[in-house]
């Protein structure tokens, strides 16, 4: 791991939700780090806790039911969990920003685009740098919205979905953040627009050298964009690997299943592979490995104890009894 240049490091983060039925462990003991300028993919099916991980970093876990109860989130070596609301607010939108999934509902339909972009500057004391309107036009220019001088006065409902997402990306990078979290930024868009937006993100990353945490369930996006992959399952990270290693040599049975379930162009197959069964209920997760019930190679120990994290290579870790010492016995 790039310990020297880590800008973000999570250590044993747990984010729980209290409901009337009990505690939902949405994020359960997660550790990973992101280096400067890296693009890391966080992969997993919906409900696996990907978005909760990102909201935990932002300090925006829905209150009052949800709370990050344990762990450390180190940003430039400082623990974000120890910061107060105002300090977090100043970091958000400035040093760390985030892009949400659905651009059409992420913009307020009855406030002008100019106003909504302007907020990013206004509340981080950036307005001294020039006229707010000019800065907003600059943002739209950077993300290639056509005729930004006219469009800046429009309302989001006059924008197309792709333009809305461009605007949101623009707001995300406006203050030159060190970390940009992108929560499935292309899922809600047309396939043709998806490619454009991804290309834009890559370009933006090269220009600003911001680290990106790309949350997605689309392995194609990961292959195209990311340098490293984190696989999440039922609130836990089960495998961490560089992207090439991950595609060539996935180790966790769930990760293998994920890769197998991607259709490959030109390869003939009778039917698409799919992993049998459903992910476990996070209300009462099984004590052992959470994938055990769906795993074809499950052993007795898998249901009894959670597997430790094993390093297969320096930058390739997996949590599975197939690779741990106890499991081999």
């Amino acid at each position: 791991m790039q310990t020297s240049e880590n800008i973000l490091e999570l250590k044993g983060v747990k984010t729980y939700f209290s409901t009337t039925k009990g505690v939902v462990k949405a994020v359960d003991d997660i550790s990973f780090s992101i280096g400067r300028g890296e693009i890391v993919g966080l992969v997993g099916e919906s409900g696996s806790g990907k978005s909760m991980t990102s909201l935990s970093i932002m300090g925006l876990v829905p209150q009052p039911a949800g709370k990050t109860v344990a762990g450390e989130i180190l940003f430039h070596g400082e623990d974000l969990l120890k910061k107060n609301d105002e300090q977090m607010r100043q970091i958000r939108g400035d040093k760390i920003s985030m892009i949400l999934q659905d651009p059409m509902v992420s913009l307020n339909q009855i406030l002008s685009v100019k106003y909504q972009i302007g907020e990013v500057f206004r509340y981080h004391d950036k307005s001294i740098l020039g006229s707010l309107k000019e800065m907003c036009i600059g943002v739209l220019k950077k993300v290639k919205v056509p005729s930004p001088e006219l469009r800046v006065n429009d309302y989001p409902f006059q924008f197309s979905g792709g333009m809305c997402q461009r605007t949101i990306i623009g707001m995300g990078i406006a203050n030159g953040p060190d970390l940009l979290i992108a929560d499935e930024p292309t899922t809600a868009l047309d396939v043709t627009i998806q490619a454009q937006v991804l290309q834009l993100m890559k370009q933006v990353q090269e220009e600003t050298n911001a680290a990106i945490l790309m949350i997605t369930h689309d392995l194609g996006t990961v292959a195209q964009l990311c340098t490293r992959v984190l696989v999440m399952y039922a609130g836990r990270i089960i495998e961490k690997a560089p992207v090439n290693t991950f595609y060539k040599n996935p180790s966790h049975p769930y990760a293998i299943g994920l890769i197998k379930s991607v259709p490959v162009l030109g390869r003939k197959s009778d039917r698409l592979y799919s992993i049998e069964g459903q992910p476990p209920n996070l209300l009462n997760p099984p004590t052992g490995c959470r994938f055990a019930a769906r795993c074809e190679q499950a052993m007795p120990i898998c249901t009894q104890e959670y597997p430790p994290e094993v390093s297969l290579e320096a930058d390739h870790q997996v949590s599975c009894w197939l690779f741990a010492e106890k499991g081999e016995q």
């Binding site: 925006l60 400035d94 992420s106 307020n108 339909q109 009855i110 907020e119 509340y123």
Partner: protein
Amino acid sequence: MQRYIIKRFLFGLLTIFSTITVVFFVMRGLNPADPTAIMLPPDATPELQQRLKVKFGLDKPLIQQYGIYLKNGIVGDFGESFRYSEPALDLVVERIPATLQLTVSSLFFSVLIGMIVGITSGVKRDSLFDRVGRQLSLIGMAVPSFAIALFFILTFGVMWRIFPISGRGGLDHFVLPVVSMSLYGIAAFIRLSRSSMIEVLKSEYVVMAHIKGVPKIKIILVHALKNGCIPVITILGLVIPGLVMGSVVIETIFSWPGVGNLVMVSIFARDYPVVQVIVIFISILIVMSNLMVDILYAYLDPRIRYQ
């Protein structure tokens, strides 16, 4: 935007005209009772009754009466009151200020207090303030305004004698009528703005604003308030007709010399010219307030403005 407002305005005129027509034919055509019978003593001769009918133009065919009514109406002549032998229009117009004072101030307090409490409740959901406010608004919506009015008369007027309980005069005369008329509206607006606030605060664009680092107070005052107001304004259009009904009750109880009081007297006296003018007044009031709601709506929501 202009086309939208002109369209709403023309629709309003059409509503007023059709209301006048419906009311005319129902009151004069379907009505079994002969108004001249009420005006005269029981032992009046048929000739006298006939002369009275001619005087008020009631002897002509209905459709002709309608034509005359419209023709005179354009120049502001809506006939003479059967009861007071005064022009019906004058009778109503001199009472309009009293009614408007009552309804407008009640509406003002309902919206102001209801929205402040409701928004605070929605933002501080499940706090003590929210729970108390929710219970009070439930009770507020379960008590009819006439019962509240009588209860206030009993306590503040009869037992403690703090406020006057009848008629119109200084500011103190306003207290009991306005408060008893506002309570139901306050309760309704608390519930509405609370749930609308909760809905808005859950939305993605509020999360997005947090992500941008917008201070919480600004999120509430700009994003949530503006969006949360839209359903409240929609309901405003439905509340205003109810307010007219409320003013009839409150004016009757507090002997308030307004239109609501007059309409009750006129209905029981079968004083149709007056009732008709009041109906026209009510429909103009409602059309105008709907128009104001539409304009407010367009002002808040650019999606309507740019249609």
